[in-house]
Symmetry: C2
Subunit: 220 residues, 2 copies
């Protein structure tokens, strides 16, 4: 049975899962859920995801939610395919885990409102974000990126020398934030090691494949 | 070399790590970091944790931050000791991962401000929390616990039949929220399966050991 992902290309969590499937060279079916009409809160989707969120994921009889958990499942289940993404060496895995958690606990909270203002308002309602809210949020993200700059001056990728889930977790948010707004782009590219990392992760074949495959700007 | 944890017993993140060490029957040294004086932002601690937070963790030459990453490291490194906490079966591990992520993405954000109002203000400054803020936060936590109730009516623990990191991640916050305030206690215990789960996880020997060993209420 094919892998099914219920989601939308304007959902960073959905994109996270699709990028992981692409890194693993796995085929999948994307079933479009329309956030604009609240389809993610429909009885059908609530039976897939009791939190009324996307994505929901199916692989045969396995049904999962939470993008990061889905990605870890994919990496473990299809260990012999595509990019490794999680090391089997406990010490290396520990480093990767730290930066997976940093994304989850620091980067995601620092960028959620920015994604809403700068991307989701435009995608869903064709509206411009609130400049004042954005300006208020930028300094904290800047301070966070200073820690990333220090980390990436020591190792090419967040989790060490190799590209891993620690990097991949960040990609959809970085993609959205660095393409739409000049100020945001400057925030990332003002830091040389962060800048090189952003350019690197966004130019990976899996990333190009996912973003070319689906016309996310059109809400599809 | 002994395992070292730099942290404080009033930090839920520190407690998470200590509970994991106790579940694994591992000895450790707790080096007290005084949040009240801002010691976690000192140059020494910033060299251990660039985010200026606790805990920081050392096991020989391994230095880690982020409580959940530390716990995963402990579970992998000391797989043959104490409670299993992460399954080696990919399907079971996938279920556990989902609820580890639910804690991280849903439970933690829903309870962070409550912990601040109900516990940290008291621990750090001897002050009472803001009742209005607490009242505003309770309905969202109630709705979240409804999903937990449904889950725990299907399986004894969040990640399946066995106690795992998915449960353990929640324990310090539950401990703080259910012992201090009657309203909070009611919120958990009004749901029979959540109530049984709370009673179960708080009465585990590791939990009793950690909370008896260190007098966290006295800021030690």
């Amino acid at each position: 049975m094919a892998i099914k992902v219920y989601g939308s290309m304007i959902s960073t969590a959905t994109l996270r899962v699709l990028l992981c499937l692409a890194e693993k060279d796995l085929d999948y079916e994307l079933i479009f859920i329309d956030l604009a009409t609240g389809e993610h809160k429909s009885p059908h989707m609530l039976s897939n995801n009791p939190f009324g969120q996307i994505p929901a994921f199916e692989d045969g009889d396995i049904k999962l939610i939470e993008s990061r958990a889905i990605m870890q499942y994919i990496v473990r289940k299809y260990a012999d395919k595509g990019t490794e993404l999680m090391s089997s060496d406990p010490k290396k895995m520990a480093e990767q885990s730290v930066w997976m958690e940093v994304e989850s606990q620091k980067f995601e909270p620092a960028t959620t409102k920015l994604i809403w203002e700068l991307c989701m308002k435009r995608f869903l309602f064709g509206k411009k974000g609130d400049d004042a809210v954005v300006a208020e949020l930028l300094p904290a993200l800047g301070r966070l990126l200073d820690v990333y700059e220090a980390r990436l001056s020591e190792s090419k990728y967040l989790g060490g020398d190799g590209f891993s889930l620690a990097d991949l977790y960040h990609v959809p948010v970085i993609k959205f934030l660095t393409e739409a707004e000049t100020k945001m782009k400057k925030l990332f590219h003002a830091r040389p090691h962060v800048s090189a990392w952003v350019t690197d992760v966004l130019s990976r074949p899996a990333c190009l494949k996912v973003f070319c495959k689906h016309a996310y700007c059109k809400g599809g």
